[in-house]
Subunit: 273 residues, 2 copies
């Protein structure tokens, strides 16, 4: 999906909501356990209940990996299902991979070829050659961790490196490696103040913003601090939508919570062309 | 495996060689392609040909992931095979994972429970809470990226953060999170000078040292710079052993190259108790 198509999708759906598929077999409604693949059944129902509102889905790879071969099969099925809505859904592998060049190339192959995601999250610590193999795919996106939503940001991301913090250096340097047509930054919803200053360093990139809901980020604050002329934000919510209800009405409740999030976005979307 | 057992293993085998199982279906000898699982056949033969010399095996997860479900099945089979030599082989998942707490917990589950590795490599960028779930497993090891072997280290790892470089901060901080009984650092063989100064910051930890052979690191230099009273090093070699020959003699050639590496280590091991 190109940047232009992503912007059109946001305007068409009047939303920049991404739903994180952090599907945990221990948290999904018990009645689903009778299906041969409860994780896929759950994902399918969540997608069907929210795809008129969500522009993107973000399977959190750890949750599938933790279930072994079965988990990878559930993920593969989920991706095939999502590909049935190719032009209306942007798909993100939340994998946070990154390794030396010849190894990153293999990770890129896994997510861009085997599972055919539009985008994959990548960790910056190992530098340019660890990111480059992901950037070599046409019309695919690299989503680089910049300032994450968790408490651990204090340990390294906020360290001063001369005039700038480490996360600012990551954002500045990565812009020399790739255009805003292929590079998105992760900026946690728990940092609305920093979001403002980041927007000055990277005016044209989209940001993937995790950390609303359970982690404490607030949609309106993020929009006020982080939007640009294209919108420029993809706000992710996982647990508050997936587990809005633990009962048989989980899909209906997911629709309601997703729609509530969309409502908070609408005033900001109306300002876009 | 405990630290004491790891040290005993090194003395018993007279080696601190780790073999990286970066098994690439396009590089293994063609005659193996007739087997139902060529990747596993190759790994099995390499393990059999080298396990009297190697103390550790390090499957590079990307290579398996890139092959989809089949790749994960090859990895699962390889792990079951390695577990047959439980007390004589230390197993490392080279996965470079790391995410917010509840997600890292799932990665830890994948590698420590499903695949039952002794150790997993973890990326530090997201800080303490991204590393902690791995540290919660008893007798399992977290191998934290500090100074990697690739060119991209220049981008962030070598940045000055006050009096120290970023990689030095990583090593110093992580020691507050975990003891040398459960924490290993990745220090690339391409940085023998830095290895000396790192040994002053982390005197008691083991280091996993990738980057000899194809990437240019030299065994003797690493030993001179990085050893401590326990040995304290696990030197990894992947491609130069795995692909020593592309023909039917690949396993014999792997033995020879592994033994050549062991020869370089022997003078240093004789100094251990």
């Amino acid at each position: 999906m190109t940047k232009k198509e992503l912007i059109q999708l946001i305007i068409r759906k009047q939303s920049f909501l991404c739903i994180g598929l952090d599907t945990d077999i221990n948290l999904i409604p018990k009645h689903l356990l009778k299906y041969p693949d409860p994780v896929f059944e759950f994902n399918k129902a969540i997608i069907d209940a929210t795809r008129h509102i969500a522009i993107a889905y973000k399977p959190n790879i750890a949750f599938y990996e933790s279930m072994g071969i079965k988990g990878w099969q559930s993920l593969e099925k989920t991706m095939i299902y999502l590909h049935g809505f190719k032009d209306e859904i942007f798909t993100i592998a939340d994998a946070k991979r990154g390794d030396i060049g010849n190894t990153s190339k293999m990770y890129a192959k896994a997510f861009f070829e085997w599972l055919n995601f539009d985008a994959v999250t990548v960790a910056p610590y190992m530098g340019k050659d660890s990111v480059k193999p992901f950037l070599e795919y046409k019309n695919k996106w690299t989503i680089l961790l910049a300032l994450t939503s968790n408490k651990g940001t204090e340990d390294f991301q906020f360290l001063s490196t001369g005039d700038e913090k480490l996360y600012e250096q990551v954002i500045r340097k990565a812009q020399q490696w790739a255009t805003p047509e292929q590079l998105i930054f992760v900026v946690g919803a728990t940092h609305p103040e920093e979001l403002k200053s980041i927007r000055k360093i990277a005016p044209d990139n989209f940001y993937l913003v995790p950390g609303v809901g359970v982690q404490g980020g607030v949609v309106e604050k993020i929009c006020e601090s982080g939007m640009n002329k294209d919108g420029g934000l993809i706000i992710n919510s996982s647990r508050s939508i997936l587990y809005a209800s633990g009962g048989e009405d989980y899909a209906e409740r997911a629709t309601i919570v997703a729609a509530e999030m969309q409502d908070k976005m609408l005033p900001f979307i109306s300002e876009l062309v």
